[in-house]
Symmetry: D2
Subunit: 351 residues, 4 copies
C-alpha cells in the first residue's frame, strides 16, 4: 500500500507518449506508474479509435500491473492530456489502487454478472490494500461496450444482448460498473442488483465510469485519502468528492474548489492537480427541471459530446484549466443530469 | 426614438410562435415588436433550416419594420428561446434601433461593399434616431452566406466568390459585418476597409454577427443606453458591454455580472434579462495560448458548435440561465478566441 | 376514384414551392393535388427541420384533403425534389388514394394502437375507393416520432414510452406503420400484431414508411394499378413493386427496371417517372451476410444516413436520375438490410 | 523489377493485422510485402485516428522498404479491408513499385515543392525499375495534411500556410500530389506547375491520392502492366484504368468491368481482384450539371464522406463486392465531380 501522487501532462496526439520522458525528468521511473488516465480527442463514442490508439501505445510501455483508462472526447475548450497515477516513496496522504477484472463475455456487458465482477474486483482490492470504504473519494472504471460484431457473437450463442444499439451499450456498461462500485462500497445493496439494473435509479457520486471498444475487461482505479502522516510532511496530496446536481451546478463546483483550495493547518498553499467530473444530458429533456435542452433530440451529435462540451466549458472556465478530466455519460454516477465530481489537490507547508 | 425593453421566452420548437401570446398577456401589442432575436436548435451552420423555419413563422407575424435575428445552435445546456425587443411607452434607459440593409448580391457577401452597406445602414439609423456612438452597447447583425447555388450564380457572372467553401462564407460574412459595425461607430477606419478585410485583424467588442441562408440582406439591431430620466423611474433597463478574452474568460464574465447586478443608487434590485455573447475556437489552436484544443481539427463537428457548447456551459453555469444568447463565430467581434459580451439588466427601486 | 399521375420537380431549398407554378404550367390546378411526396435536405433524423419547413410551406398551399410526405436526407448524389401525386381527368392506369389517420397520442407511437389505426385507415380507404389488395404496388406513410418533450409527456401520465431514445422511436414508428400496412392488405395477421411488434420479424415489400417530428397523425398514400382502359389510351402510368434483398441488390433493381421500361404491347416507349426505395443498415452488421459494414458503430453518423447515401448512389447511378425517393429505415418494409422497391413509369404508344 | 500480385482481406478493426497470418497461409512471406493499401473505418478527414492506428500496427510489421496507404472512410456499404501488394516469384503481368518521398516541411504541403518532390520521387523510381509511362495504370499516394499544430508551426517561422482550414489542407495536399503524378508521367507540364496549382484545373485519371495526419512524407505506389510472358503463364494479373466522369457514371464503370472481365485469348476466366476509385462532390453543386446535390452545404457531414458513400454504393452494387477501395477527394484525379478508376483482375487459362 504505497502512497500515491498524480502528475498531469498535455499530449500532442493520441499516439503521443512523450509524457513518459517528462515523468522521468520529474524523477519517476516507469515502474512507478500505477495507471494512466487520459482524455483523447475522438468522439468518445463507439467508433472512437483515438482511445484505442492511446491504449495501444501506452499499454506497451507501462508495467503489466498498471492500468490505462482513456476517455474520449475533448469537445469545446477541453484539452487532450494524460494524468499519471504514480507510486511515491514518501507519504502523500493519497492512496491509489489499481486492478483489472477478468474479461467480460459480450453477453455479460451491462448485466448482473458485470456488476458482480466489478464489485468483487473492487472489494478484493480494498481488502488486499486495506482501504476503508469511508476513505474512498472516487473509483474510476474503464469498461467494455458492444460492437456489431460482439452483438452478432452473442446472438450466435442464442443469447440476447442487453441492447442492439451499440451506442446505448456504452451507457448500460457504465451503469453496471457504477452499481458495481456502489455494491463494493456498500454491500447491503448486493441483493437488489437486478432491480437496480432495471430501474435505472441507482446513483453514487463515488463512481466515474467510461466505456470503450478498446478493452474487454474492466480497468479499475480506486482513489482514497489516507490518514496524514505525523509529523506533517511538507506536501500532502488530497482528493475531495462532491456531486454536480446538474450540468450547470456552478455552486457545488465552487464550494468544492473553495474547500479543496483552502488547506487545513499547518498547510498554507494549495495547488489544483486535477478535476474528475462526469457529465450527461438530463434524461428529462430539461436542465434543472426548467430549461429545455436539445441534447437528446440532436441526431447529428450524441448527447455525451454535448454534455462534455458544456460541463467542460464550465469547469475549465472556473478553474482556468482546460486539461481537466470531463467524461460523458453519468448513468448511476450521480443524480440524473448531473454527475460525480472529485478534485485532487496538493497542499504545501510554505508558499 | 421610443424607449425599449426586452422580454425572453422559451420556445418548444423553431416553429413555436406562442411567445406572441405571452407578449400580449404581458401587455404588449404586436406593433410594439421591434425585433425578435432567437436561438434555434439547428447546427448553426450552412444547412440550418431551424433558423429558416423560425424566420418563416415569425416574419409573417411581426411588423414590416421589425427585424428577426435567429442564431442557430443550442449545443450543450443551451436552451432554445426568443428575446423580444419591444417599444415601451415609458422611459426605460435603453434604446433599440432596427433596420435592414439592402439585399446583398452574392458576390458582395464578405466584400468591401458588404462592409460599406452595413456601415452606411448603421450610420443612417444612428443619425435618424440620434444615437451617440459612445452610448452603443452592442450591434447585432444577421447577414447572408453563400450556398452552392449562390457560388455558382457568382461564377456564372464571371466573378470570383470570396470563398468556394460554404461554411467559410459564414465567417467571412460575419467578419465583414463586424468591420461595418466598427466603421459606423468609428468612421476613421473607413479608408482601411480593404486592408482590414484581408488582414483579419480588425476587432470590436460592440459587434455580434451571425450569418445564415435564410436572408439576403442584413438585419441590424443597435442597443444603446440613454440618459436615465429624472426623476428616476421605478424601473430602468441597462445594457453593459464587455469582452471575453478567451473561451474560458470567467474573470471578465464575473466582473461584468457583478457590475450589472449591483445597481447604482437609487436602485436596489437587479434582474438579469439577457446575456449576449460570442464564442469561437481560438485560431491558434490553443486556448489562452496554453491549452491545445481540437475544435479546428474535428472534421465531424464544426468549431462554431464546439465553441457555443463550451462558452454556453460557462455562461449558463455562472448565471444559472440556459436561455442565453450564445452565438458562434466571433471573427472581428472581439479578440481572437474570445468574443463580445453584453448583458442587459433591469434595475428596480425597491426589492 | 379518379385516375392519377405523377410529376417530379427539383427544389432549390426546403422552402421552395415553385413546383406549384410548374404544375400549373403543365396544366394542373392546385385542387388536382392529391399529395406531395418530397425529399428534403436535412439529416432525416429527429431534429430534421427541413422536413418541418417543407410541410409548413406546402401544407398551406395544397387542398385540405391532400397529404404531404417529406422524407429527410439527400445524402451523396441524391437531389432534393418533390413528386406531385395528381388527379387526372383521363384514365391513366394508376390509382392514388390518400388519407390521414387520427392524431396518435405520444404513448401510442410504435404500439399496437398505432398499428391498428393505420390498418383501419388504409382498409377504410380501400373500401371507399374500391381498391383491391392485389393491385396495390406501394403504400407510403409518414408517421410521428417521439421527442424529449413527448417522452416527458408520456411519463407525466404514468405510462411508459416505447423507448427513451428519440432516434430509436423513428424506427419503432416506421415498423408499426409497416405492420399496419401489412394488416390492411392481409387481415389474417391482425391477431398476431403484438407478437409481430415484439419479434421485429414482420416484413412486406409494399410498405414505405418514414417518421418525423413534423406531424402527429399518419399521412397515407396508396399507389395501385388499375385495369388499363380499353381501347388503350395513348399513355399509361404503371407502378411496379419489387424488393431490394440487400443494400447492394443490383440484380433486383435491374430486373425491375428492365420489366418496367419494356412496355407491353401496344406500348412502345417507356419513361421512368420515379423510383421509391427503402434502405437500411443490415442489423447483422454484415452486408449480404458477408461484408462487415460500419453503419451501426458509427457514432458520428446515423445508419439511416449511411444507408440512404449508399442505396441512393446505386439507384441514381443505374437510372441516371438523382431525384429518386430513397428513404432510410426499412424496418418491416422488406428483408433485413434491404427494403421495398417500386418504380413508376409512363408507357406511350409511339416513340 | 519483380512481378507483383495483390490479395485482399477483410479486417475486423483498424488494429487488425490478422491478414498477415492469412498471407502466410497463402504462401507469402512478410518480406514479399511491397505495400499495404487499406480502407479504415474512421471519418477519412483530419481527425481520423483509425488511419493512424492502422499505420501504427502495420508499419511495425512490414519490411522497411514497404509502404502503407490507409484511406479512411467506409461509409454506407463499404467494408474495411486491406489490399496486400506482393512480390511474386513468377511472372504475373503486373508490376508494383513503391517508395517514399522525403519528409515534407509543413509549409511545403500543397505547394510547388510538394509537387516537385512527388514528381521527382516517381520519376526516379520509374527509371530505377524501368517503368514506361505508357504502362502505368494507377499511381496511389498517401500524403500529409496540416493540423492546427502544423499551421501554428508554419506561422511561427513567418511563413504563410496554404490554408488555415485543416480540412481544406487535405484537398490541397491531394491536388499537389496529383499534379506531381501528372508531371512524372508527362514532364512537359513541369514548367506550368505554379499555374496548375493556382488554377485548380489539372487532371489525370492515373492518380489516386489520399491525405492524412499519420505521416509527414509521401507514400507512393505505382501500378503498371508488363508485357505478358511468352509462353502465356496459367494466370495473369492485369490493371485497367478508366475515368468516372461523375459520381453516377455507371456507364464508364460497366464498360471498364466488361473489358477487364472478358479476358483476351488464351485466357478464359477472369476474377475481379480490386477496384480503386476516387470520388468527390462536384464543385459546381450539381451532379452531371443537372441535379442539385447538397454535399457542399451539409455542415454536419463533410463532402468526402458523402461522396465515398454514394460512389461506394454504386461500385459495391455493380461488382457485388463491398471491400472496394473508394477514396474521397478527387482533386486533379479526374474530371470535376468524377475521379480516377482502376480495376485489377486475374485472368486464368482454364475455368
Amino acid at each position: 500500500m504505497p502512497p500515491a501522487t498524480i502528475l498531469k501532462f498535455p499530449t500532442s496526439s493520441p499516439a503521443d507518449t512523450s509524457p513518459l520522458t517528462r515523468l522521468q525528468e520529474a524523477g519517476f521511473k516507469t515502474k512507478d506508474i500505477l495507471g494512466i488516465v487520459g482524455k483523447t480527442e475522438g468522439n468518445g463514442c463507439v467508433n472512437d479509435f483515438s482511445r484505442t490508439l492511446s491504449s495501444h501505445v501506452w499499454d506497451a510501455l507501462i508495467p503489466d500491473s498498471a492500468i490505462s483508462i482513456f476517455s474520449g472526447g475533448t469537445e469545446g475548450v477541453l484539452s487532450p492530456h494524460i494524468t499519471a497515477i504514480l507510486q511515491s516513496d514518501k507519504p502523500t496522504g493519497l492512496h491509489a489502487a489499481v486492478r483489472r477484472s477478468r474479461v467480460l463475455e459480450p453477453w455479460e456487458v451491462g448485466s448482473v454478472e458485470h456488476v458482480r465482477y466489478v464489485a468483487a474486483s473492487i472489494r478484493e482490492k480494498m481488502v488486499e490494500e486495506g482501504i476503508e470504504a469511508g476513505d474512498v473519494q472516487l473509483v474510476l472504471i474503464k469498461c467494455p461496450l458492444l460492437t456489431s460484431e460482439r452483438i452478432a457473437a452473442i446472438q450466435a450463442t442464442g443469447r440476447k444482448p442487453v441492447t442492439l444499439d451499440t451506442y446505448e451499450s456504452m451507457a448500460l456498461s457504465r451503469y453496471a460498473s457504477a452499481i458495481g462500485i456502489g455494491a463494493a462500497l456498500n454491500p447491503t445493496i448486493t441483493n437488489t442488483i437486478p432491480q437496480l439494473l432495471s430501474s435505472g435509479d441507482f446513483q453514487t457520486p463515488l463512481a466515474s465510469c467510461s466505456s470503450g471498444a478498446e478493452l474487454q475487461d474492466c480497468h479499475i482505479l480506486i482513489l482514497s485519502n489516507t490518514t496524514p502522516p505525523n509529523p506533517s510532511p511538507p506536501s500532502l496530496t488530497r482528493a475531495f468528492n462532491s456531486t454536480m446536481h446538474s450540468g450547470i451546478d456552478f455552486s457545488s463546483l465552487q464550494t468544492l474548489l473553495t474547500k479543496a483550495l483552502h488547506p487545513s493547518p499547518p498547510y498554507t498553499k494549495a495547488t489544483l492537480l486535477q478535476v474528475f467530473v462526469k457529465a450527461e444530458a438530463d434524461p428529462s429533456g430539461l436542465v434543472k427541471g426548467e430549461f429545455r435542452h436539445t441534447m437528446l433530440t440532436d441526431s447529428d451529435l450524441h448527447s455525451t459530446r454535448h454534455a462534455r462540451a458544456a460541463v467542460g466549458g464550465l469547469v475549465a472556465g472556473v478553474t482556468g484549466d482546460c486539461a481537466v478530466y470531463v467524461s460523458g455519460g453519468a448513468e448511476g454516477q450521480g443524480p440524473k443530469g448531473g454527475g460525480s465530481l472529485c478534485v485532487v489537490v496538493r497542499w504545501e507547508l510554505y508558499r
